[in-house]
Assembly symmetry: C2
Homo-oligomer: 427 residues x 2
């Protein structure tokens, strides 16, 4: 960890720009509210456009609302893609996503400057800064929408037709902030993303850089619990088919599962809606989203099976029926080991403490790694606070992360992760 | 129970009018959606106005939106007030409230006709049909709003300033349907209401008329469970302060309490709202409405104490804090025994099977009995279904209830429940 006294002018400019980002959609408690394609999301996107264009980058919006800042050092060559997302949860912290986009922008400016120096070696690839659209998924589902369209996992038309709770489509929301373009997106050679850890393992171990080796596996479900409307006062208990009771038992069951597999299984219900939600009516329907996540696929499979046994019990105990919708799962998938190895070497060269970590949250790089070699980096998150206005990472760590990302991108731009590149230190 | 073959033309007209009522705000499944001061509530109110005015009644709206159909047989004398409410829950049955208003209207027409007959004894009191505003409380809280204002339990200005979820005030909503007047309401001598049972005890015992002797006691709470926003994927389980987990444990605890006191304690959570309610954020806040009801005040007190002990445990188990707001309680309060006795005599004279019952649900008559002698009557509800589109009472029973109400109102109009009236049969 460095002290701020050692900051260069470039580091100070980065910290200053990061402060500015926290003013877009600022909330009273030091956080931000910049849901996808909201007015503050649009304002910040236009601010980033100005920042990059002033420094010689070409800024384009693609058809899915992803924002690209392009710098061509080698006309016609593919691009190294670096970035994250600037949208946020409704009451969110300033670091999640935003840090990664700004770090990518500043890293790209540093590379551009370095390539312009007399005697510098020419890169093999160009550099593209990306601000992915709607990574959070709070306003429009699914999350990681922009990178899913770019990587061919989601149809463009499906994404554009998605509506928020007020019935506004992604297409209309993007048009309203002037961020839907006709660009197809650049050809990617490889990718890098930096993000806060959103956990406390790095803080606990006192390391500055996390080298993300893989993501946790996840099973995500939408459950609909069906009961029957009745009067809350007069209906006798044994006649009740209370959908909220069934749903509540499911929320409690999810936590009990996590307690069965301490540290290796995370479960949650983040969203739950009750119908008709009237004070004197026994609820007839509850929709809820339940996730199971684990680093160990065998644990996930066992937990999933226990969950479904418990659901069958809840159906009897609460006299409800539970319908399962929209299951979405992903396995433990590694980031390319060559990328982890490359990043470890860059960190060592920079004198930054580091360790391999897994990511429990999804990131746009999770999509990108399925189509090109991708490096995912973390910086520590104080107390692991995430999706919360009090999220915080020290200036020292965000500046160290910027140096780290710059080093990695510099290597990637020389083709260090090309399949046919021989590593200097051998196989 | 009579058969429809014995229906008079008046009975058939009543059944026909009741069918018409079910068309206002009709839903696809045979129910209605007529929340307070909605367009269909307004349409039905204007239909009732026409029905009563055509038959010589004067119809007025008071300042709280209660609708009054007045017939003065004795100019200047107080009124016997008879009615119920025509608003409904969002997906409700056709009988709840609406039956009681229409039965009161037809009973009043029958009395008026009887008083007009040659040689008929003149009544002591006039008759007022009432359609109370917002009994249900689903759109605007609290429930029983119109009768609460009329009986002085709720300030008029407080009621008018209450807003629904969309921010529309009672004042504006009533104005929009043309149902806010400047009438102060009639002077009441006594009151009667008829309603479906909303339980299955009368059906089980095969009786046609329920003589309501008292209401169950109730404690109603709004609880706010406070947790802390965090990432649902990455935050380790022991760091989570999950407001939805705490709320769910509270919902389950409410049911467990009811199971501890089988048949004598009813508990429920009808409304529950989650914030920020995003798929990937551990909820930071949940608001919920929880009721405890019992016919036995000692049971209610014990259950309440157990609930609060359990809340203290839940605060520890789920790492949340639970704030209690807006407690609203009422004791077991009897309807005037003289009224129950009078009703029993009328039922016997009409040859209608009957028994004393308690009401578990609140009714406008619960308010009225605190200011004037009040008679509350029930007809059976098939399978006890209530606050549900499939609510059903047979034509035989609604016609029998109308005859019963007519008989009771006829007695009340002669002053049968006046404090100084000597009952023919002794003390």
């Amino acid at each position: 960890m460095t002290s701020t006294a050692s900051f260069t002018d470039q580091d100070l400019a980065f910290v200053e720009d990061f402060r500015t980002m926290g003013t877009f959609g600022a909330t009273g408690n030091g956080g931000v509210d910049r849901q996808a394609a909201s007015a503050p999301d649009g304002e910040q996107r236009h601010w980033l456009k100005g920042l990059l264009e002033e420094r010689g980058f070409t800024v384009k919006f693609d058809r899915a609302g992803n924002q690209w800042g392009l710098y061509e050092a080698v006309p016609g060559a593919p691009f190294v893609v670096a970035g994250s997302h600037m949208d946020s949860q409704p009451t969110a912290g300033r670091y999640d996503g935003a840090y990664g986009v700004l770090a990518a922008a500043h890293a790209a400016l540093r590379l551009r400057a370095a390539w312009g120096e007399a005697g510098a070696e020419a890169p093999k690839y160009n550099i593209a800064v990306v601000n992915w659209f709607n990574e959070e998924g709070s306003r429009f589902k699914p999350s990681m929408m922009g990178s899913s369209v770019y990587t061919g996992k989601l149809e463009l038309e499906t994404a554009l037709a998605t509506t928020d709770a007020a019935g506004i489509s992604v297409r209309d929301a993007l048009d309203a902030i002037g961020c839907r373009g006709d660009y197809a997106g650049p050809e990617a050679a490889c990718c890098a993303e930096i993000h806060i850890e959103q956990g406390r393992s790095m803080e606990r171990d006192g390391v500055t850089i996390g080298l993300v080796s893989s993501n946790w596996a996840a099973n995500k479900y939408e459950f609909v619990v069906h009961g029957e409307q009745a009067h809350t006062g007069s209906t006798v208990i044994e006649d009740r088919k209370d959908a909220l009771l069934g749903a509540s038992m499911l929320v409690v069951a999810a936590r009990e599962l996590a307690n069965l597999f301490p540290g290796v299984l995370h479960t949650s219900v983040g969203q739950l809606n009750v119908y008709p939600n009237s004070p004197v009516v026994v609820p007839s329907r509850v929709n809820l989203l339940l996730d199971l996540r684990s680093a160990d696929e065998a644990v996930l499979a066992e937990a999933d099976s226990l969950l479904h046994s418990r659901i069958a019990e809840i159906e009897v105990l609460a006299s409800v029926s539970v319908e399962q919708h929209h299951a979405h799962s992903w396995p433990v998938t590694p980031y390319q080991p060559e990328g982890v190895e490359l990043a470890a070497k860059v960190a060592a060269d920079l004198g930054l403490s580091n360790k391999a970590v897994m990511t429990l949250a999804g990131h746009d790089s999770t999509n990108m790694k399925d189509i090109v070699p991708t490096v995912m980096l973390f910086v520590p998150s104080v107390e692991g606070i995430s999706h919360n206005e009090h999220e915080y990472t020290t200036d020292e760590d965000i500046v160290a992360g910027l140096a780290m990302l710059t080093g990695v991108l510099s290597q990637l731009c020389t083709g260090a992760l090309d399949p046919n590149t021989t590593h200097p230190e051998g196989p």
